[in-house]
């Protein structure tokens, strides 16, 4: 499903080349639940951006569903993000002037999927918020907003959900609710890639990628680490 070989990302800051990601190599199959951990500046975000097809690697290969994303045009990448990847962000990133339903509908509209409002409604139902369809994000609580964001991420039935600190702005009880939704989605067969620095949240995953200074220092099952 995800196959990463010697993936590198180098940024140019003035005259200095900064290696944000060095020789990352790993692969995950469909249905994995992975927590990517590490201190800030360790390269988590860079890895997320690459896996989310928001950015292209400097070298190495990234195959998503067998497709090498190297050399793809921005529009082609947008198409892949639209069809195969769902994003969930720490600060929700909902459009403030659109209702919950309209926010969820947006990926369907960009993907030109028919029956968009019906599908958006059923996605909202899956996160248990159907009675809030007409509310704007400002009228929703933090947990509700994140659930709307999850509904938006899954509405196109993607193979992967990328969640970047999804519980970072929530209290621990709401955080648990959100993590339960991810667990449920994972059980339904969606691969969840979770970026977090909270051990507790990482416990929901089955697999951990630990990063430091742009390198993957540990790649193991949670069960193995515990022992």
């Amino acid at each position: 499903m995800i196959d990463v070989q010697n993936l590198c990302k180098t940024y140019q800051l003035g005259n200095v080349n900064v290696s944000a990601l060095k020789n990352a190599t790993f692969s995950f199959e469909r249905g994995e639940f992975v927590a990517i951990m590490g201190p800030s500046g360790s390269g988590k975000s860079t890895l997320m951006n690459l896996l989310g097809c928001l950015d292209l690697p400097s070298s190495g290969t990234y195959r998503l569903d067998g497709n090498d994303i190297q050399g793809m045009t921005p529009d082609r990448l947008a198409e892949i993000r639209n069809r195969k990847i769902g994003f969930v962000f720490q600060n929700f990133n909902l459009l403030p002037r659109a209702s919950a339903l309209e926010n969820i509908e947006l990926p369907l509209l960009y993907g030109r999927v028919p029956d968009s409002s019906k599908k958006a409604m059923s996605a909202l139902d899956r996160v248990g918020l159907s009675e809030r369809a007409r509310h704007n994000p400002s009228e929703l609580s933090g947990g509700e907003r994140q659930r709307v964001a999850i509904a938006r991420a899954i509405v196109n039935e993607p193979a992967i959900i990328l969640a970047d600190e999804p519980t970072g702005n929530l209290d621990s009880r709401t955080g648990k609710e959100i993590m339960n939704i991810f667990t449920q989605l994972n059980r339904d067969g969606v691969m969840v890639l979770l970026v977090t620095h909270e051990e507790e949240i990482a416990q929901y995953a089955r697999h951990i990628l630990l990063m430091k200074d742009g390198e993957i220092v540990k790649n193991a099952m949670i069960a193995e680490i515990a022992t």
């Binding site: 947008a78 198409e79 639209n82 990133n93 002037r97 990926p107 960009y110 196109n156």
Partner: protein, 404 residues
């Protein structure tokens, strides 16, 4: 993404910033409104003038005393034209169908207990025909009445109305007093219709000789009108008249004439030139104000793109393509200029209507000016909206998402 969804989103963002949207479109509104109303006023003035000229007749050559370059010299004091000049033209210039010498002055008319002030025009037998007047009742005066300076008068429609409307009498055969002297009414004219600043029906016509000797006490004439048989011959006739009169007035070749010859087509030409200048001027004003309006739109769109960087990032992350972002912002700016154009047209119409109501001024709103103004403003929206929209479309999604 369907165009309708993009349209809805653009509309929503414009509505969310109502005041900003209004202020931004104000430039376009003012530009379009000024174009519409000014063209309407100019066009109205033009048509009014044209109809005046055509009422007077387009194949008429008019000779006035005085040098052409000194038009401000009052015709009354320049006494170079005479009745003999008119006769000489009539007998000596080919290709003409009528000559009418004229003298005119304001005078008071009295009939029984009624008074009115009007213009008394002393003229020849051809004048009624030259000036496109039609006899309503009675007849026009003839050669023998002119030769013998008879005190007869033909009344314009407004004068008839002023003096005879109440009693509903037939004016023909009645006697009126003109500055105290008795004149027999031998005919009345059909109404030609008044213009806002001039009523051709508010005058009476008497034989030119009568006017000169018995009423005004002058032996020159104030104007000679000559009718050409064909409009194509106007220039030839003008040259002939010029040559003839210079000869009669003993003017040496190196000296200027003491009269000037003009015709209504000259008038039309100079009006055409004035109208053209006016149009260029309007075009300039319109272009500048629409340009300023367009820069206003561009400015606000740039602000809007920056403000909504994160939104752009979100849209890109969930699969918006370059083109879809570009279209979204372009639709917004075009919508704004479209709105400005629409309101501007309405405002322009209101201004034009108000001007014609309050100023008694005719205004003509042409469909072309509306289409032009509208097309122009929408074009401005596209032109000035493209750069900000393109800037939004080319944003890097990662940077846009991270934007605070």
């Amino acid at each position: 993404m369907l165009i309708l969804d993009l349209f809805k989103m653009a509309l929503r963002s414009l509505i969310a910033n109502k005041l900003r949207t209004f202020l931004t479109t104000l430039g376009i509104i003012i530009g379009v409104a000024s174009v519409i109303s000014m063209i309407a006023i100019g066009e109205g003035a033009k048509q009014q003038t044209l109809s005046t000229i055509s009422k007077f007749g387009t194949n008429i050559i008019s000779i006035k005393p005085g040098r052409e370059k000194k038009r401000h010299v009052s015709g009354d004091r320049v006494v170079t034209l005479t009745l003999e000049d008119a006769r000489a033209i009539e007998s000596g210039v080919p290709l003409i169908t009528g000559v009418a010498a004229q003298v005119y002055k304001a005078a008071q008319l009295k009939y029984s207990s009624k008074n009115t002030n009007t213009t008394v025009r002393g003229t020849g037998q051809d004048y009624g025909r030259l000036a496109n007047f039609t006899i309503d009742r009675g007849r026009y005066f003839n050669m023998s009445e002119i030769r013998t300076s008879r005190q007869v008068a033909v009344l314009g429609a407004t004068v008839v109305k002023n003096l005879f409307e109440e009693t509903n009498e037939n004016p023909v055969g009645k006697t009126i007093k003109v500055d105290g002297k008795n004149y027999l009414i031998i005919g009345s004219m059909e109404a030609k219709g008044a213009l806002s600043w001039y009523d051709p029906d508010d005058q009476i016509f008497i034989p030119v000789t009568t006017a000169q000797k018995r009423l005004f006490g002058m032996d020159h004439v104030q104007s000679i009108d000559v009718q050409a048989a064909n409009i194509e011959d106007l220039e030839t006739i003008k040259e002939d008249i010029d040559r003839l009169l210079r000869l009669r007035h003993n003017i040496r070749e190196d000296k200027e004439s003491d009269f000037h010859v003009q015709n209504s087509s000259q008038w039309l030409n100079s009006w055409g030139d004035a109208a053209k200048t006016f149009t260029y001027l309007l075009g300039g004003v319109a272009a500048i104000s629409l340009m300023v309006g367009g820069i206003g739109i561009m400015n606000i769109m740039l602000v809007s793109v920056t403000e909504r960087t994160r939104e752009i990032g979100i849209r890109k992350a969930i699969g918006a393509k370059k083109r879809e972002i570009l279209e979204q912002f372009l639709i917004e700016s075009v919508l704004m200029s479209f709105l400005g154009g629409g309101i501007g047209i309405l405002l322009g119409l209101v201004i034009a209507k108000t001007v014609s109501k309050m100023g008694g001024w005719e205004t003509v709103v042409s469909v072309e000016s509306i289409l032009l103004a509208f097309g122009f403003s929408v074009g401005i929206g596209i032109f000035f909206g493209y750069y900000p929209a393109n800037k939004a479309a080319n944003m890097n999604p990662i940077d846009a998402l991270r934007y605070e």
